[in-house]
């Protein structure tokens, strides 16, 4: 493999990894802070992508669609937390798994009813619709670089939010000891609602920016969810750093696995997970935001 082909695959790995990180960070935040395992997280990714499709068709611009979509998904997150997830805090894992599994079924059928089961494409916004030439025959699409850039910016913002702001402090405190925070007079319910809405928005946003690249299809929520689980298992639950490292590892393993060993394409990620489980059953990084 020559240098430029390698570079292209490397850039692809990083882009895929960063996108996975975006989705997985929402999942691990919700679990790390609220203690809820949310199987429907992949559905939010799917909802984001379908929103990007319908809103950009209506408004003519993907960027407008993304802004609208983020607002809508935060509203959805607030509603879901109020209606359903707030009842899950004291429940055991089996019940959380089942309720969120039921939610997946509901979301999939609603999508089928509202938008149908077709596969759709979304156009890359004109500003990004060009490629950087690398050699005479190879070039790299700028949109993918934009995606990676956006993910990095969001990752930094997320870190700033959690580590450096007052809200972040409340979130971290609430993760340690919910009752104490509540008895100190802080509105922990509101904090949880915001965190959940943030998690939903992250997943939906990832779906929206990924739509031009991966197209919009019914099974996308499920496939991203399973890989997210692998990210969280490898990275360690509740650790956003772990999710980043694990997502990048998976991006590398998956992309180079597909290129170098096409027969084992889908299994590379699971083999990586099995190997890491042998070495570190709790994940690479322990709990810690």
């Amino acid at each position: 493999m020559d240098f430029y082909s390698f570079l292209i695959q490397l850039l692809n790995s990083v882009q895929y990894g960063l996108l996975l990180f975006l989705v997985a960070s929402g999942l691990t935040l919700i679990f790390g802070i609220m203690g809820i395992i949310n199987l429907a997280h992949g559905s939010f990714y799917m909802i984001g992508a379908y929103m990007a499709f319908s809103l950009s068709t209506l408004s003519g611009s993907l960027l407008v669609a993304i802004v609208l979509g983020v607002v809508l998904s935060m509203a959805l997150g607030v509603f879901l937390e109020w209606a359903l997830f707030s009842r899950l805090y004291k429940r055991d894992h089996l019940e959380q798994v089942l309720l969120t599994y039921g939610l997946i079924l509901v979301f999939e059928e609603l999508r089928s009813l509202i938008v149908g089961n077709d596969v759709h494409g979304v156009n890359v916004p004109a500003i990004f619709n060009w490629s950087i030439p690398l050699t005479e025959t190879l070039s790299y699409p700028v949109y993918r670089l934009f995606m990676s850039g956006v993910c990095i910016v969001l990752a930094v913002l997320l870190w700033l939010l959690i580590a450096k702001t007052r809200l972040g402090m409340m979130i971290r405190a609430g993760a340690s000891n919910r009752e104490m925070v509540a008895s100190l007079g802080l509105n922990i319910n509101l904090v949880y609602r915001l965190v959940f809405a943030l998690g939903v928005a992250l997943a939906a946003f990832a779906g929206m920016i990924a739509a031009p690249v991966s197209s919009v299809y019914p099974g996308m929520g499920t496939s991203v969810l399973i890989i997210c689980f692998v990210v969280v298992v490898i990275g360690g639950i509740g650790s956003v750093w772990g999710a980043l490292v694990a997502a990048l590892l998976i991006g590398l393993a998956d992309t180079f696995g597909k290129v170098l060993i096409p027969q084992a394409a889908g299994v590379t990620v699971y083999l990586l997970m099995a190997a890491i489980l042998l070495w570190r059953p709790e994940g690479l990084f322990r709990r810690g935001i």
């Binding site: 679990f31 429940r91 894992h93 089942l98 059928e109 298992v233 889908g266 489980l277 709790e282």
Partner: protein, 320 residues
């Protein structure tokens, strides 16, 4: 207690006499339910009694089914007595292989990794040549129960299949009941209660959990084999996480931690599926909404409804 025993005996009798109603459709439907009941019982050992919530149990169900699919020769019938033990063994070994990795992990991780490994199995059957791909495998002939020249029953006959499955369900039920009363079974329940205490008492917890995982996998493989036997067709969707989710749902429908609950849950699930799919093609929406409602309002499953009803009628002690 005696009231329960009578109810159980009546239920068994009804099941035994059911094919006499003559309806071919319902005989096959109840056979399907009994197969799912075996599947649910296998998971109940793991979830209800060992406390390990697996979201990937369909993998071993599918493996059992695919063993028959792959072993069945194209132009003659496979032999039941050869293929059935192989299916159970292969499913059990697959479960032990996965369990070796997965049982070291606890709580939420366990749910996630079992799901991930099941997806890996799904991928192998869906996307590789080994599993014959997403079209699945059709079998031209039902397996034969022949031992030499003697043919005890005919598996092409729906009523014979019904009774064969019925006997196996009874055997699995009795086996699990005895297993759970043994020291091994008690240890599993102790692990579910408090793993650290069991470890400090000297039990090799990892091995016990692994054994439970393996047995559950083997029994799931039995159920999968029976599915393939009944329908003559296997496809990768048998290993999908929808299947894993559905069997977990059966447990919560019936109430966990009780063997009868697993069987009741299987019946309730299929009843729900049949009723909902008759109402609309988007029946999964109704299923999802029911699951959500169930978790929020009835975490003890249908068994808790029965308990509350009993309390109202008889005013007995609050907990049995």
């Amino acid at each position: 207690m005696t009231r329960r025993r009578i109810a159980l005996a009546v239920a068994v009798l009804l099941l035994a006499l059911f094919p006499l109603t003559g309806s071919a459709f319902y005989t096959e439907l109840v056979t399907k339910v009994m197969i799912l009941a075996i599947f649910a019982l296998s998971l109940d050992l793991l979830v209800g009694y060992t406390g390990l919530v697996s979201f990937g149990h369909a993998a071993y169900y599918g493996v059992g089914a695919y063993v028959l699919g792959l072993m069945a020769p194209k132009y003659e019938a496979a032999n039941l007595w050869l293929t059935l033990p192989v299916a159970i063994a292969v499913a059990g070994i697959a479960a032990l292989a996965v369990g070796a990795f997965v049982v070291r992990v606890k709580g939420i991780y366990f749910i996630m990794v079992t799901l991930a490994f099941a997806q890996m199995f799904y991928f192998v059957f869906h996307d590789t040549a080994f599993g014959r791909g997403s079209d699945g495998i059709s079998m031209n002939f039902k397996p034969t129960a022949a031992i030499g020249a003697f043919v005890p029953f005919d598996l092409a006959n729906a009523t014979h299949v019904y009774y064969f499955v019925f006997v196996l369900l009874a055997l699995v039920f009795v086996f699990l009941r005895l297993l759970l009363r043994s020291t091994f079974g008690r240890a599993l329940q102790g692990i579910r209660s408090n793993e650290h205490r069991m470890r400090s008492l000297g039990f090799p917890v990892y091995l016990y959990k692994l054994a439970s995982f393996g047995i559950a996998g083997a029994l799931a493989g039995l159920a999968g084999y029976l599915y393939a036997l009944q329908f003559g067709f296997v496809n990768p969707e048998l290993l999908s996480w929808h299947q894993s989710g559905n069997v977990l749902l059966m447990l919560i429908l019936g109430g966990q931690g009780s063997l009868i609950g697993a069987v009741v849950g299987a019946f309730a699930f299929v009843a729900m599926e049949e009723i909902y799919s008759a109402v609309t093609t988007h029946w999964q929406l109704l299923l999802g909404a029911t699951i959500i409602a169930l978790v929020i309002f009835l975490p003890g499953g249908l068994a808790s409804v029965a308990q509350r009803f009993q309390r109202k009628l008889i005013g007995g002690p609050p907990n049995e």
